[in-house]
Structure formats: C-alpha cells, structure tokens
C-alpha cells in the first residue's frame, strides 16, 4: 500500500509539541516559572507537612511552642497508639473502623452517583420518551438545591425509613447528582450520530451500545468524576453528623471533630495529627491511582 506511513500517535505529537514550546522559552523565564511553581507548592503543602511533623512528636512537644520544623522520634509510638491503642479514645472506636466507614460512604456516593448519572444521561440523550425534557429540567433544577437546603426534610425521611445509623442513610441522600448527570449529558451529546447508527447497523441494542461503546468512551469522564465524588463523600461533615448517633457509625471527619475537646489541655493533639494524616491518605491514594487514567484519557481522546 502506498499510503501507510503511520501517523504519529497523539502522545508522541503532544510530547513533541510540549518540548518545542519549552525550547522557545528563555532560561531565565524558566527559572522564574519554576520559582513561582515551587512557591505555590510550598504554600499548599506546608500545612500538610506541618501536620505530619506534629504527628511525630509527643503531646508535650506540641503543646510547648514553637513546634520544630523537622519530624520527631515518636512516629512509631504515635501511629501505633492511634491505630491499635484505640479503646476509650474516639468513643471506643478504633481508627480502622472509622476509616472503613468513611471508605464505604465515599465509595458508595462516588459509585452510586456515577451509576445513576450515567444511566440518566443515557436515557435523556439517546431515547425519546414522553416527558423527557420535563425530567431533564427536574434534574437540572436540583442543581440549585444544595444538601444543606433540603437537609431537614431529608432527615425526616431517613428517620421515617429507619435509616439512621446505617450506611444506606449515609450514602443515599448524597447520591443523586445533577452535576454529574449534566456532565455526562454534555459528553454524550458530542458523540457523533454516525457512531450510534453504526452500532445499530452492527446489531448492538441499547444495552450493548451502552456497555461496549458508551462506557469505554466515557472512561476519562468517569475517572475524573470518581475522584471528585470520592473526595466529596470523604469530606462530608454535616450529613454524617446528623444521620449517625452511634459512635461506631462515625466517619473519620466526625471522629476528628470529636477528638478535639474544648479544653485545649484535654486534647491529644499528637493523636489528632496522626488521625488527620491517616484521614487524608485514602483520598491521596485515589487521586494517585486515578491519575493514570486521566493522563491516558487526556492523551488518547481524539476529536
């Protein structure tokens, strides 16, 4: 065949273009750019670093300012105490159960939101049914009602359904998401009609089309939403506070709050710091893990 010089993969093209752009920048301005970036990173990362430093010192050291800038020698002691010495601390609940609760809630919200919003966007974009636009607008309008506004009626419903102190109660009310539905709708609208028709000619029914074509094409979007929703669920405060009474149903954020007594001296600050560090680890891991998908998605997407 005459015309088979394979076009550069998009990745290669992107890489080259970036390099080219870099070469065009002078050395000085590159240093300045880096200095600004590093400054930004320090500003953002310092509190986290300081939390980590505090988590490796004894309570006495923390309470006697100034706090050293370097980690201390109590790393193993503090973390051991926080993880395994739990009895009587956060209402008698160990940190791993709290982390488990929070993971269940964050995963439930993230996965549930994605499933619901992908399916509803699928229905709205690819099917004609009576009241389609009505449903779309109903979903759209809920955008204007944040959780806090509808928290009382929602709480009442949860009480009536006996869902207080259950995972369902924690997850369900936070699952419906107009934002995610809209995002998927916008993405689905960019899928060319020809592709849909090709699938129809190829004998793919709605379900096959969804599973074999729509979902794989939405990979990047799903990964991005998953991260955002996971962190959203992980950091929820108000709702878990309301809907859980038992200590063993607490999330880590609630527990952290409970660890901090009003009297400063009673607070085990070193353990609070350890728990804080433990609390941010899972979201960081999710971001790091999902990052691969983002980058891949960004490089692979073609328009």
């Amino acid at each position: 065949m005459a015309d088979t010089t394979a076009p550069q993969s998009t990745a290669a093209v992107l890489g080259r273009r970036e390099e080219g752009a870099m070469l065009g920048i002078s050395r000085t301005s590159r240093y300045i750019a880096h200095a600004i970036l590093i400054l930004g990173v320090i500003v953002v990362a310092f509190p986290i670093y300081y939390t980590f430093v505090a988590s490796t010192h004894s309570l006495q050291t923390i309470l006697r300012p100034p706090l050293p800038l370097l980690p201390g020698d109590r790393f193993f002691d503090n973390y051991y105490q926080a993880l395994f010495g739990g009895v009587g601390r956060i209402g008698g609940v160990s940190v791993d159960l709290l982390l488990f609760n929070t993971t269940v809630m964050a995963l439930g919200i993230a996965v549930g939101k994605i499933i619901i919003s992908v399916l509803s966007a699928f229905a709205i974009v690819f099917f004609r049914f009576p009241g389609r636009m009505f449903f779309f607008w109903v979903i759209f309008i809920t955008l204007m009602l944040p959780v806090e506004v509808r928290i009382l009626p929602t709480y009442k419903v949860m009480v009536d359904l006996g869902l207080i102190d259950t995972y369902t109660g924690l997850i369900l009310p936070l699952m419906a998401s107009a934002t995610a539905t809209l995002l998927f709708r916008q993405f689905f609208l960019t899928i060319p009609g020809e592709l849909v028709e090709a699938a129809r000619v190829d004998g793919a029914g709605p379900w096959r089309f969804f599973k074999d074509i729509l979902l794989p094409l939405s990979k990047t979007n799903i990964a991005a939403l998953f991260v955002i929703m996971f962190i959203y669920g992980w950091t929820q405060y108000l709702w878990p506070l309301l809907v859980t009474n038992r200590n063993d149903m607490n999330t880590i954020v609630i527990a952290l709050r409970k660890m901090i007594s009003f009297a400063d001296a009673d607070t085990q600050w070193h353990l609070v710091m350890v728990t804080s560090i433990l609390a941010i680890l899972p979201p960081i891991m999710v971001v790091l893990f999902m990052q691969r998908w983002f980058v891949k998605g960004l490089v692979e997407t073609e328009k």
Binding site: M1, A6, E194, R200, D202
Partner: protein
C-alpha cells in the same frame, strides 16, 4: 445478496418538510445503484430509509423480495459505510470489524477467519492491532469497508464514503470499491454528489432533485439522453449549454433566438413557434472559419487552457443561453483570447431538445 426495491417511497420530517417525494427504484441483484444530486435533494434520507435508520412515511422498501419497512437496521441484513467512517474509536481495527459479527453470536473462529480474509483483501493485515486514530484517512476508509464486507450482507449502503479523502486517494478508492463490489457481487446503493464518482461506479444511476428521481438509467443513457434540463445541466462537466430557440415553420427545424436556423437531425422538430431549449454539450460546439457558416457567435470572456482541450467561456453575441453563459470545448491547438468573437457550429446530431416550460426532454 438480493434485489432492493423501492416503491413510491416518501419521507416527511416532522409533518412538514417533504424530503423524499415518492421514489421508485428497482435494483437488480448484484448491481451498483448510485444516487446523485445536489445538496439537500434527499439522497441521504432515501439511503437511511433503506438502512432502517429513518422511518418510512409511506411506500415500501423491499430487500430480497421481502418488505422490510418495519424492521430495524440490524434485521435488514445490510451494511453501511458512513461519510466519517464511524469507527469505534476505542476498539482495535480487528474488533471494529468483528463487533457486528459478535453481536450476531457468530463462532469465534468463523469471525477470525472472516476478519482476516477481509483484512487481506483490503491490505489491512498489518494494521489489525491498531486503533482508528493511528490510521490515515484512507486506511480508516478501508476499515469501514472491511466492517461492511465481513458481514456478507444482502446489501451495501454507502453515504458519500469518499468525500473526506483527497482527490488522488478518492480516485484510487473509487476503483477499489468498484472492483470489490464487482468481485463480491453484493447489491449496493451509493450516495454521492460527485458526478465523476456517479458515472464511473454506477450500473444504475439515479439523478435526484428536490426529493424526486428525475431520471433512472445507465450512466451512458443518462449522459446521452438526459430526461430534463436539470439532468442535462447536472451530468457532464462542464455543464451542457442550453440555448433558447423556437420551432420554425413546418419542416424547417428550429430557429435560435440568435437568429440562426438549425435542423437537428435525429430530433423531431417542434411545432412552429413552440418555445424550446436546445441542449448542446461543450464538445459539440465546433469552431468554423467565418460567421456565415456559424450557427451561433460567442464573445469570449474567459479561457481555460487544459492542454488537450481549451475551454472557452463566453456569452452569445445574439440570442439567449440559459444562465447567460456558453462553454465550448475546443481542441488544445486552437489559440484564442478574451474578447474574441468565435463563430461556432452546433453538431445538430448530438443536440438535445427540451420544452422551455416544463424542462422535459422532447
């Protein structure tokens, strides 16, 4: 393999826009039928109704003798090649071709055999592991063809499959499609607005205009005997000249608006006074020595030198041509320039007559 028959097929969008206004076509088994016409004439709509992608407002579509009006695209056993290829971007070339077969529950080794066979035919064997974005336009086009071939469907449907390729590749792919279609003997419907493509590919050519089929015949028959001034103007490049004329006295042929009298040999002369249009292809205007022998005189406004031919564009000195323009295809050796007045003779034997009112061939 099967015949495809359309009977008085109509399509009305949203109860108002009438896109296809009653088209009937019989496509014999294994033939290539090309739908050609200007933009918006309803070609794609008609094709999509055959494919089952668009509901048929009235009339019937039969494939292989069975009316398929109510069947979905997958149950009609057709394969379609789209203008933008519509390859699944996340699937490898292999899976793109295999997908339709898998959905039909075909055995794995049979799928493999068919995909590899099609890939070999199309020169895609090396590319089976690539994804569409790693292919050139021509290769993507081939994959789209492959996806159609592996299915061994009753009919192929093409909607402007070559319009995204550059001119050279288009010419090459045109021949490949033609050969492939011949070799496989699959009944095909091919939509294009490129008349060269239409002429070269078609066994049956359908010239469409405003939702109706103006003429259905072999390409040569249409070229030689266009049924209307629309077809005359659309098929052939440059377009046919249309000169205003009217019937002369009994037996005298016709009188051009420019004053010249002409007696087209094979054409029945119109009754005296009837307003007609005389159709003359640019190659049937010949340069003569002086105005005494000329049927019409043309003042040149532009000259296109093509090498073998020279195209002279101009206006008739007297009389009237449709669109006000005349084009003559003269031998390349003729030297002319702008503002020359050319005496031209009309090859009466090759001329066409159309009614000036209805635009139909007389």
């Amino acid at each position: 393999m099967a015949t495809v028959e359309l009977k008085d097929v109509r399509k009305t969008y949203g109860g108002r826009v009438e896109a296809v206004k009653g088209v009937s076509i019989d496509i014999p088994d294994g033939a290539m039928c090309v739908l050609v016409g200007p933009s918006g004439c309803g070609k794609s709509t008609l094709l999509r109704m055959i494919a089952g992608l668009e509901e048929i407002t009235s009339g019937t579509v039969s494939i292989g003798g069975e009316v398929v009006n109510t069947r979905g695209p997958a149950e009609r056993d057709i394969a379609m090649v789209f203008q933008n290829y519509a390859l699944y971007p996340h699937m490898k070339v292999y899976d793109n071709m295999a997908y339709g077969l898998r959905n039909r529950g075909m055995a794995k080794d049979e799928i493999d055999r068919r995909v590899r066979e099609a890939a070999a035919t199309l020169g895609l064997a090396e590319l089976l592991e690539r994804r569409p974005r790693e292919l050139s336009g021509g290769q993507r086009q081939r994959v789209a063809m492959g996806r159609a071939i592996v299915r061994s469907p009753k009919a192929f449907l093409f909607d402007e499959p070559l319009s995204n390729l550059d001119a050279k590749l288009r010419g090459q792919m045109r021949i490949e499609i033609k050969n492939l279609q011949r070799a496989l003997g699959v009944t095909s419907v091919y939509v294009t607005h490129d008349q060269v493509e239409a002429m070269t590919l078609a066994d049956t050519l359908v010239v469409m205009n405003g939702g109706i089929a103006e003429q259905i015949d072999t390409p040569m028959a249409i070229y030689e005997k266009p049924a209307s001034i629309f077809v005359a103007g659309f098929i052939g490049s440059p377009a046919m000249n249309l000169l205003a004329a009217h019937g002369a006295e009994q037996g005298k042929g016709l009188t051009l608006a420019s004053g010249g009298a002409i007696k087209p040999r094979d054409l029945a002369a119109p009754e005296a006074g009837r307003q007609v249009l005389l159709g003359v292809r640019p190659e049937h205007l010949t340069l003569v020595s002086d105005s005494k022998n000329a049927d019409i005189e043309m003042k040149v406004t532009a000259v296109e030198t093509l090498g073998a031919d020279t195209l002279a564009h101009g206006r008739p000195v007297a009389g009237d041509a449709r669109g006000g323009e005349l084009i003559a295809r003269l031998p390349g050796s003729v030297r002319i320039s702008e503002d020359d007045v050319l005496p031209l003779a009309i090859d009466a034997g090759a001329a066409h007559l159309f009614d000036a009112g209805t635009g139909k061939r007389i």
